[in-house]
Amino acid sequence: MLDNAQPLLKVENLHSWYGESHILQGINIEVAKGETITLLGRNGAGKTTTLRSIMGVVRKRTGKIQFQNTDLIKLPQHRVAHQGIGYVPEERGIFASLSVDENLMLPPSVAKNGTSVQEIYQLFPNLLERKNSPGTKLSGGEQQMLAIARILRTGARFILLDEPTEGLAPVIVERIGEIILKLKSKGYTILLVEQNFRFAAKLADRHYVMEDGKVVDHINANELTEKSAALHKFLGV
């Protein structure tokens, strides 16, 4: 899969549970520094659960989640982000009791050289205009921008993005695509969950396909055409 360089993230034989339900059943994923990787798969395949397990939001896990030299499974939940990881959750997670500006400033810095607030407001002028309104008064697209912006501020160089385009208008989807490409060109490492395969195909270096809590296929960007039949079967499109 990868060159022999040590990957930034190495998930080995990861099993996860919600209470008694055994959801992830032995996942293996590797992400090298600077790569953009997607997790593809149908509804309920376990993509979100994979990201939540990495972040420690899902606590009941076995296996290994090696990030740089740390096994994330062994960390208390609030220490994971401080390894330099940013999380943009599926539900976006904008806090209703915080203003836009407070939402932006909320996550503690986890590394030096995070994007400055000034730069962020340049990048997302809508957010500046709505600086003082409650976070959840923003449109869906603006909330997604805010969810991404607040992570960039922290200096995290490894970013988990869970379906950032879900339910958004095409222009906004395009805008988010541009942002991801820009981050990629700046050397960020990105693990992206997507249902929108066309969108993912333009961005990612490699794709993992998930089904029923397992990784069932792995596709390099240059294999997309030859594997499209198999992919259609898995994604059910």
């Binding site: 609030h78 994971v80 909320l106």
Partner: protein, 295 residues
Amino acid sequence: MFEALGISPYQLYGQLVLGLINGSFYALLSLGLAVIFGLLNVINFAHGALYMLGAFGAYFALTLFGINYWGALILVPIGMALIGVFIERTMLKRLYQLDHLYGLLLTFGLALILEGAFRHYYGSSGMPYAAPKELQGPLNLGFMVLPLYRAWVIIVSLVLCFSTWFLIERTRLGAVLRASTENPILAQAFGINVPLLLTLTYAGGVALAGIAGVLAAPIYQVNPAMGSNLIIVIFAVVVVGGMGSILGAIVTGYALGILEGLTKVFYPPASAIVIFAVMAIVLLVRPAGLFGRGE
């Protein structure tokens, strides 16, 4: 104008000030209760007992160590905060995974133990605690004269309530607290140390109860039952204001204190129940409380 009703303005002002004093304590205590409930989801039944402990703290500081009122006003809240840290770390922390009821039962048990122990050693009659020299004597406002110490209590409680509100609603630490109240799991995913915040919040709430106890010592005397007399009213205030609402606890605390004072003037027999009548009405009309967000 009230003379027609057979009420002198002095009586009216007197009861208003008394209402404002009671309201100051209602506000300070329900504020702590609301902050604790908001973040920890624990209904802190021990709040009244901790208030009593604060008053005893001032009494012990003076009688055992010769530390005067001003010293107690600084040291007691610090000591109480440490007691709060101890209670949270060793006991409450274990209950977060369980139903609210367990936190309530634990703190109720703590209240019974504390109050029982103090009643055993100090009986049920109060011990006097003098107001500091600097705050003895009257304050003439022109239209009325009130004891200087009472004016001091009203001012200190207003300042404390405003500061707490400001801290929570207008500062970075407050934003972190609000976020952790709203979605603790996501806050932790961002790297916020929520367990530490829970400890600090409980300690802060307990410290507020401790300050209220010190402030109360010269007014109500130091009495093992002073907390249990108050806690039920405080719960009513929190329910009326809206569980977990900071502003609700403060405004309702003062408002109900004043309402109670006015009832003493206009219809004394109802003064003991007016707060609970308001609570019943609010629960019927607006179950989430006057300032509650509801579901």
